[in-house]
């Protein structure tokens, strides 16, 4: 909103130039705002400066609440490594057996969740999905779709098999502002 001059004194012609620069890199966002007075004759009066300052403060408050995005992007390659190591170490020596496969899928999903949490990615919610099945010559297809924010949300996935069973693990990471 325009800064109105003080009418009790002789009006001074003032031009205002508003400079706004926004730095929007992956790690952080910052903005610099300057209000420049271009005056003819006398210096700008204190009232004008105060009004300009209050405009700047309101703008700062507005920008501070603006959604910032994650300070650290979810590390997909680290998550994939966790999936690969967990599946390989737990399943390498196993043969398919009903009760054991059930336990393995539950254990793997809990273990993977804790290890991915340990990557310390603030403000990311995690969904871990593990499937363990018998190799019996059957056909199988697993697919997924997500409705989310592609700039912040992502997933990692890995599949493993030996002669008697297979394991597929996925972790979906959803940013929560």
């Amino acid at each position: 909103s325009p800064v109105s001059p003080d009418h009790t004194r002789r009006p001074q012609p003032v031009k205002l130039i508003l400079c706004l620069s926004i730095n929007d890199s992956n790690d952080k966002r910052s903005a610099e705002i300057s209000i420049l007075f271009v005056c003819s004759g006398n210096q700008p009066n204190e009232e004008l400066k105060m009004k300009a300052n209050s405009v700047l403060c309101e703008t700062e408050a507005f920008l501070t609440c603006w959604p910032a995005g994650p300070t650290k992007r979810f590390p997909v390659s680290d998550a994939t490594a966790i999936l690969r190591e967990a599946l390989s170490s737990f399943l390498k020596e196993e043969r398919y057996e009903v009760q054991r496969a059930r336990e393995l899928s539950l254990t793997l999903s809990a273990v993977i969740r804790e290890r991915v949490k340990a990557l310390r990615t603030p403000r990311y919610k995690l969904v871990v999905l593990v499937t363990v099945g018998q190799l019996n010559g059957q056909g199988l297809e697993i697919g997924s779709r997500c409705l989310w924010d592609v700039t912040h949300d992502t997933f990692a996935s890995y599949s493993f098999k030996n002669s008697s069973l297979f394991g597929v693990a996925s972790v979906f990471a959803v940013y929560f502002e």
């Binding site: 969740r113 919610k125 999905l129 363990v132 099945g133 997924s144």
Partner: protein
């Protein structure tokens, strides 16, 4: 009627999602026998239909939908999930469906954004 609405309107309603998923599976593979050529089309079709039906609910959630289609040969399959989220608002539902020739397991995860 207002007074019979259960609990918190903005938390995930898994019963509602359950019905949506069942309808999506039926409409995509309800009448077919397992076929290796079609299975890719079926998994994509089921998840995409689920997502579009879930969007129509108009709730403030992000969704993850997974579908596994497996031929019936007597082989065993186990699925488990583990989530790190807000237990009050977020939720999931898993539907197991079978026909004479195949199994279909669909999981929906809803993560709130409000």
């Amino acid at each position: 009627m207002e007074e019979f609405q259960n609990g918190n309107e903005s938390s995930f309603n898994s019963e509602e999602a359950d019905n949506i998923v069942k309808e999506c599976i039926e409409s995509v593979v309800g009448k077919d026998d397992y076929s290796q050529n079609q299975v890719n089309k079926w998994t994509s079709g089921i998840v995409e239909r689920c997502i579009s039906q879930l969007i129509k609910l108009g709730k403030p959630f992000k969704y993850i939908v997974t579908c596994a289609v497996m031929q019936k040969t007597g082989a065993g399959l186990h699925t488990a999930n583990s989530c790190y989220w807000d237990t009050a608002m977020d939720g999931s539902c898993t539907v197991r469906w079978e026909s004479r020739t195949m199994y279909c397991v669909v999981s929906v995860f809803a993560v709130s954004i409000a």
